[in-house]
Symmetry: C2
Subunit: 235 residues, 2 copies
C-alpha cells in the first residue's frame, strides 16, 4: 500500500521530533520542513537534520527566509533572551521571544509544499498547555488557518484535497509528550530546545524553553539526556 | 497629523502600482513589500523598485524566498508560459501559471511586517473579475485570511490592532483600474505585467497577463504605454 504523504514542520526541538514519530506511526510518508529564519540558535537546524536522518524520512527541505529584516523579537533581533531560575518564574502574557507571524509564515510554506506533493496533511507541534503564551499556538488559530488554507489553493478549491493541520501535541503536557516520544523510540539527546545555546550546542538551562523541557523530564520521571552549560541537576 | 502606516504588496505590475496610489491618496504612510521568489520575470522587481521610488514611499523591502524548491508552476518552474491571440482565448479554470499558496505566503510576510510597524493595514491588488482563476484572489479567501491573522498575532490578540486587508481593486475591471490609476497620476510605463518578457523587459503581448492588460487599455480608451516585443497594435 502506498503511504499518504505529509509535511511535518521540524524545528529540531523536542516537540517536533515527537510529532514526526507520531506521524510516522500513523502511517504517513513524512517530508520534513525547516526554516533558517535568522534565529540566533542555529544548532536547532543541525538538530532538525539529525532528527530527519534518524527517522529516515522522504525529504528534508530547509527554507531560507530572513525574518530579521522586520525585527521585533528576542529570538531574531539583538534583544537579550530572558532567564529564570525555575519554570514557576515564567511570566504571564506573550513573551519577548515571540516572533511576529512565525507559525503563519511556516504553515504557508507547508501549504505550498503540500499542494505540490498532493498531500492534504500538515503536522505541527503546537501546544496549548505549555505554549508559553504564543497566540499562533492556540486551537482557534489552527482552525482558522485550515479554513483559510482550503480557500487558498487549487487543490482545496477543486475539492481534491481538504487540508488538515494535525496538532497531536495540542492537549498534552510536556511530560506526556516526552513519555509518548520515548515509547516511540525518539532519542531526545538529538534535539535542541534552548533559545540561547552555547557555541557547542549545550543548552543554557534557564530560558523559558529549557525550563519547560527540564520540568517535563522531571515530571515524566525520565532521565534528561540534554547537555547543559551549567549543572542544572545539582540539588 | 501622523499618517497611519500601511504595508502595500508591490509586484511591479499595473494592479499593485494602482493600489499604492490609492493607499497614498487615502492618507496612509506606505511601506512597499516585494518578493524575489524564483519568478522567471525578474524585471517585475525592477518595476516595483521604480514604482516605489516614484511614489516616494517610506521603505521598500524585497524579501528573498525561493518557491522553486517546491516546483509546480509555469511562473517558477521549467514549464512553458501559455500564449494566446486575444483575451477571449483565455481558458477556464485555474491556469498553469498558478503558484501554490503564493498570496498566502506573501500576506504572511506582510502580516509580520505590519505587526512590527504597529500597522493594522495591508493593501493587496487582488481582483475577482480579471482574476485569471487564481483561488487566492477571491473575497472569501481574503476574509478568511483576515480572521486567521487576527488570531495569529500578539497585536490582534491584545486588541491593539485588528488587521484589515484592503483590496481596493477587488470589484474593478482592468479598464476601471487603469482609469483610476491615470487619475491618480500612475505612470504605467514604469510597470511590468508580462509573464514572459524579453531580456530588455519588453512584454510578450500574448500571455494571459499581457492580454488582460492590453484589453484594459483598449476598453479604457487610454493609450497603452507598454513596450511589446511584437507590434501588437497592428490592425
Amino acid at each position: 500500500m502506498t503511504r499518504r504523504p505529509a509535511v511535518v514542520l521540524l524545528s529540531g526541538g523536542l516537540d517536533s521530533a515527537t510529532v514526526l514519530a507520531i506521524a510516522q506511526e500513523q502511517g504517513f510518508e513524512c517530508h520534513g520542513l525547516s526554516f533558517r529564519y535568522g534565529q540566533r540558535h542555529l544548532c536547532e537546524l543541525e538538530a532538525a537534520t539529525r532528527v530527519a536522518a534518524a527517522a529516515n524520512i522522504g525529504q528534508h527541505v530547509v527554507v531560507d527566509i530572513d525574518l530579521r529584516m522586520f525585527g521585533g523579537s528576542a529570538l531574531t533581533a539583538d534583544i537579550e533572551v530572558p532567564k529564570h531560575q525555575t519554570a514557576d518564574d515564567l511570566g504571564d502574557g506573550i513573551p519577548i521571544t515571540y516572533v511576529p507571524a512565525r507559525n503563519t509564515i511556516f504553515l504557508s510554506f507547508a501549504l505550498a509544499w503540500a499542494e505540490v506533493l498532493r498531500s492534504s496533511d500538515v503536522f505541527i507541534g503546537v501546544n496549548a498547555l505549555d505554549y508559553s503564551g504564543y497566540p499562533d499556538c492556540r486551537p482557534e488559530y489552527i482552525t482558522a488557518y485550515e479554513h483559510m488554507a482550503n480557500l487558498a489553493t487549487k487543490a482545496g478549491v477543486e475539492g481534491r484535497q481538504r487540508l488538515q493541520i494535525h496538532t497531536p501535541l495540542m492537549e498534552m503536557t510536556k511530560a506526556q509528550i516526552i513519555t509518548r516520544g520515548v515509547e516511540l523510540g525518539v532519542d531526545y539527546a538529538m534535539t535542541s530546545s534552548c533559545y540561547d545555546p552555547a557555541e557547542d550546542g549545550a543548552a543554557c538551562g534557564h530560558c523559558d524553553s529549557c525550563l519547560l523541557r527540564r520540568k517535563g523530564f522531571t515530571e515524566a520521571s525520565i532521565a534528561d539526556p540534554t547537555t547543559y552549560t551549567t549543572d542544572v541537576f545539582a540539588p
